[in-house]
């Protein structure tokens, strides 16, 4: 196993990355799909590290690292789970509704080949939003089961 110093610095780096992503999520009015996926992956990455480290560290030898873990755990369960995550889910739901309405209002009249192929990119965008929402909902499901 790596030394505690190695683990500690790796956890520190991943935590900073996570805090930056959460900060970005709280300051931006709307996140791109890429930013949403990146944020959730980092949440899952750091959460897994926390679970693993908690079983391997002991209070007497690794108090500092355990304090840091406790701090980040609170950021995830508090700030992220109760504020940022519901906002992201709401943003995705609204965005899917808006794109769906736009597509439904585009009419069914005969279109040119070019128009049909341009419209197809909007449908592709809707599919990506729906698939991202499914991914976010899986995280939500995990929270409900906790």
């Amino acid at each position: 196993m790596d030394s505690v110093d190695d683990i500690s610095s790796m956890f520190e780096a991943e935590s900073i990355k996570l805090e930056n992503l959460i900060s970005n999520a709280t300051t931006k009015s709307e996140l791109s799909l890429h930013e949403i996926v990146e944020t959730y992956y980092q949440i899952m990455n750091v959460s897994s590290m926390i679970t693993m480290l908690k079983t391997q560290l002991n209070v007497d030898e690794h108090q500092l690292l355990l304090n840091k873990i406790e701090e980040i755990d609170k950021v995830i369960s508090g700030k992220f789970n109760s504020t940022v995550h519901p906002q992201i889910l709401e943003q995705l739901t609204k965005s899917i509704q808006d794109t769906t309405k736009t597509l439904q209002s585009m009419g069914t009249e005969q279109k040119s080949k070019e128009d049909t192929e341009n419209d197809a990119t909007l449908y592709e965008e809707l599919r990506k939003k729906m698939s991202t929402k499914e991914f976010v909902e899986q995280y939500d499901q995990g929270l409900s089961n906790d």
Binding site: K111, E117, A120, Y123
Partner: protein, 271 residues
Amino acid sequence: MIEGFAKNLVQLKKEFAKTYDGKSQIQEVIPISKSDLFPINQQNLELLHQFATKNPIYYNSFEKTIGNTPCIVYEGDINKYWLNSIQHSSSNAPFSPTWIMSAYVGVLFAKELGYQEVIDIGSGDGRIAFCAKVLGLESYSIEIDDMLVDLQKLLTIRDFHPYCSDAITFDYSSLNLIQPIFFIGGLAQMGGTALASGVLEKIDSVTNLKNTGWVFAGTYSQKYPSDPKNEAGWGTLIEKNNLQSIKTLSLPTVWTFHESEDTPYIFTQTI
């Protein structure tokens, strides 16, 4: 002969996919004339072209020789049907068709097996039922999505009997079936298992039919969970319902256009 036909079609699709540089959401090809590779009655071939030409899901077509086979390429878009299908929770799987030529080959094999009626379950635009009619079999097309059934009604160049109905509750006894084969739409992992189980149960409860045929569209893609009993996702259902596998034909479909593996159609019958 039919296996060779299927292999030639898969080869044609591979050649086409290598050179296709269009932007359409869906695309497929139909040979222009009868040939050694595609020994189809010319009149039937004309009907397949009519089905594609009249079908509003296709917005463009052009001639192209693929390998040594002169073909018509049909380019289309099914997005609006997908959008409609996701609004209805009753529809298990969004509409995504097999190729018209694949529908023809599948039904040709069903005919060779001696079946007299084809029931196309979750029929989309009704192309399997249409091909059955072209090949002289009786056919019925059952689709839950009303927008797709309206589309089918535009395509009854041969009357393949479109029904807008939930296939699980449909009254099959009203069709007076003698020796039917059921083509189940949708992959096992995309709601197909629930659909097939429901129809198998219904048929068992309302008819005394023996040796009915069941055809399932499978997948070997790692995108989907595999079935412990294999059969491209259908093994458990096949075993549970005491079905016997007869043959698997690999055929091109819209959803495997960019994939190296085509869609395995698993032909089974009740024991």
